[in-house]
């Protein structure tokens, strides 16, 4: 089995790459920085004996990014699994970003996922068993005054994965979207958070453990399901007063 991990160099992407290598999968790793990718690839080859190919490209240009990945994929094998632990947010994302800044967030969280998937989908549909995994966010549950563009992109990603699941129904492709709560990454670092933070390794273990399960979308950690429900159903007159 060969897996493509987009956004592999840090956080969930790195932990996932390590878990996949431990499960003896061949890897095509993509991220923006060649040095980060090389360090990870060397580690996975030495520690797990994994076959690893890397692609350094900028996800803010989704077409070029997808093109580079396609070219690299031709070097190793057919791709069986796509993982998209990619994301980008800014702390000043409060609905006042200019078009370039907004586009960078949209491209890194959504467009690049659609562009890369489009390249590999025909091949995946021909395979007896394949997997496409996206990573959503609890920020997509309900729009709020912070992370405005980021939340919109993640909401779009949810819709895209619903469509993908519908489109691939009946084929051997499992489509999964993990809606992640607070993860210990640069995004959450140093913030006062209401709920427990989980490590990228915990996310990776959960994704590995739920391989092959056709649940569509799920929350991780699972308690976020209840919080999301409460947030979604909170009456507007209360919700509008919340400062979060």
């Amino acid at each position: 089995m060969t897996a493509l991990v987009v956004g592999a160099s840090a956080g969930v992407g790195r932990a996932l790459s390590e878990a996949l290598a431990a499960n003896r999968k061949r890897l095509l790793l993509a991220a923006s920085d060649a040095e980060d990718l090389n360090a990870l690839a060397r580690h996975l080859r030495l520690v797990y004996g994994a076959t690893v190919v890397t692609v350094a490209a900028d996800a803010r240009d989704p077409d070029a990014f997808a093109e580079r990945i396609s070219a690299a994929a031709a070097e190793i094998d057919d791709i069986d699994e796509l993982y998209f632990p990619i994301g980008f947010s800014r702390r000043d994302d409060g609905a006042q970003l200019d078009a370039d800044a907004s586009l960078a967030i949209l491209n890194s969280n959504l467009t690049v996922v659609t562009a890369v998937t489009a390249r590999f989908l025909p091949g995946l549909l021909r395979r007896p068993k394949a997997r496409i995994v996206g990573f959503g966010s609890i920020a997509a549950v309900r729009g709020r005054k912070a992370n405005v563009i980021y939340s919109a992109a993640k909401r779009g990603l949810e819709s895209y994965f619903e469509s993908l699941r519908h489109l691939t129904a009946g084929a051997g492709v499992i489509v999964q979207l993990y809606r992640l709560g607070y993860i210990e990454t640069q995004q959450s670092f140093g913030q006062r958070l209401l709920f427990p933070v989980v490590t990228p390794e915990q996310v990776a273990r959960y994704v590995s453990a739920t391989e092959g399960r056709d649940f569509g979308a799920c929350f991780f950690p699972r308690f976020w399901w209840l919080i999301a429900l409460a947030v979604a159903w909170l009456p507007w007159r209360i919700y509008k007063k919340l400062d979060f």
Binding site: A10, R42, R91, Q191
Partner: protein
């Protein structure tokens, strides 16, 4: 808070592992190489590995601690030369797992696997046979150092040897040590026989230690100093040797994760459970435990290298108030006098000495490295005014007897003591200033010792 380098900084309450130094500063946890390549601003800073230094070596009040946590990968391995290149945030245990699968190990390692390689380099730590193996620097081939004023530097004994020696044992004050090439040794077998031999006095223990340091792979003594009465100083010589193939268990030892250890986790108990009575009970229990090892007990190499994994509760017993460790190398001729002085003091002012352990040391003194010829004796006790008074007494006795204290083990150690005991302390300061005129890399330890 977003810093100029784009990596968030968070206000963090730091505490030394001994629980005696607390400071509020900033913590940054980069996870990408562009952090090291980018423009690093001139905020006073220090690298932070596992945060397990007894002294406050990885933080500074209002300063910035840069965590190497996410830089913990194996980057290269030369099987022919047994040389491994790692990012220095890697823990000793993770590295041990990698090396042991290839029949190798690092002979110089401190007792807990959660300690980072970077911390071991910065403090130039010793292992369980310092006489034979030296200190950590002996297994370092090269380090990669990042400093805002100098960029990225590759240092080795051959390439900028002065700066290499200043960095290995430089307490992180020359810059961020981001990568290291380490030379491993062949582990003939992943099993070690531990043998505990009783002795009836500290002097006898030190004599046994001299012999054991020559013949065994690991050797140290344990002394009972929990009572100033009869039996003070008696204990066990603990020796470890790789077993022969026919003595080894048929299985390969499992290597699960090292138990989590942190300064905050250690201090979870609100009160100390260790007083004179409980310390005597603890020592009694340890003696009882050694009966298994009197005729030899075969343990996994990892258990011999990291004995603290199975004794973590010991550190937790000290509670939030913390503990003190006094470790000093005494010249051979003075070691017994030193123990007599300890005995005399404790007879007058009883104090629960929770641990007393010695190792045989050899080597020449250099900069602020904890090396030299003699007996290295470590004493643990609950922190407090009584402990500090006792340690001040030990400072005096140690100076009179020509000893040197271990800087990384004592978060209280005054500059005056270091200046008297380490003749090259000023040379260390001058070399550091010559390399870094702005003295950008600073810690609680360096401020206290005016380094």
């Amino acid at each position: 808070m977003q810093s100029r380098d784009g990596v968030p900084q968070a206000v963090h309450d730091f505490v030394s592992f001994d629980g005696c130094v607390r400071a509020r500063g900033y913590l940054q946890q980069p996870d990408r190489y562009r952090f090291w390549r980018g423009v690093i601003d001139e905020t006073p800073r220090i690298s932070r590995g596992a945060g397990l230094s007894y002294a406050g070596a990885s933080f500074l009040a209002d300063g910035l601690s840069v965590s190497h946590r996410w830089f913990d990968r194996v980057l290269d391995f030369d099987a022919g030369r047994s040389v491994v290149e790692v990012e220095t945030g890697i823990t000793l245990y993770a590295l041990h797992r990698f090396l042991s699968a290839r029949g190798l190990y690092l002979p110089v390692q401190p007792g807990h696997g959660r300690i980072s390689v970077g911390g071991c380099i910065a403090a130039d730590v010793h292992g369980k046979n310092q006489t034979r193996d030296g200190t950590f620097i002996n297994q370092v081939e090269e380090v990669t150092l990042v400093h805002p004023a100098h960029g990225t530097l590759q240092l080795s004994p051959q390439r900028d040897g002065e700066l290499f020696r200043l960095t290995c044992g430089g307490y992180g004050l020359t810059g961020h040590i981001v990568r290291a090439r380490l030379r491993a040794c062949a582990a003939p077998i992943p099993w070690v026989e531990i043998r505990a031999a009783p002795f009836s006095s500290a002097e006898q223990g030190f004599n046994c230690l001299r012999e054991a340091a020559r013949n065994a792979d690991f050797s140290y003594t344990w002394h009972d100093m929990s009572t100033a009465g009869a039996g003070f100083g008696e204990g066990f010589l603990i020796q470890g040797t790789f077993v022969s193939q026919d003595q080894a268990p048929a299985t390969t030892p499992g290597l699960s994760e090292a138990p989590v250890l942190s300064a905050d986790g250690r201090a979870r108990l609100p009160v100390s459970l260790l007083n004179r009575l409980s310390t005597r009970m603890l020592n009694f229990f340890y003696r009882w435990q050694q009966r298994f090892a009197r005729n030899g007990e075969v343990v996994a190499l990892a258990d011999a290298l990291f004995p603290t994994h199975k004794a973590q509760a010991y550190f937790q017993f000290f509670g939030a108030a913390g503990f003190r460790e006094y470790q000093a190398i005494l010249p051979h001729a003075a070691a017994t006098n030193y123990v007599d002085a300890i005995h005399g003091y404790l007879r007058e002012k009883p104090l629960p000495i929770t641990l007393s352990s010695a190792k045989f040391f050899a080597g020449s003194r250099d900069l602020l490295r904890y090396t030299g010829d003699g007996i290295s004796l470590a004493l643990n006790m609950p922190a407090g005014a009584d402990a500090d008074m006792f340690m001040a007494f030990l400072d005096q006795r140690m100076i009179e007897l020509g000893g040197i204290p271990n800087i990384i083990k004592d978060s209280r150690l005054p500059r005056a003591v270091v200046d008297v005991c380490y003749p090259e302390a000023d040379r260390f300061r001058e070399a550091l200033r010559a390399f870094d005129s702005k003295r950008l890399f600073r810690s609680d330890l360096s401020e206290r010792l005016k380094l």
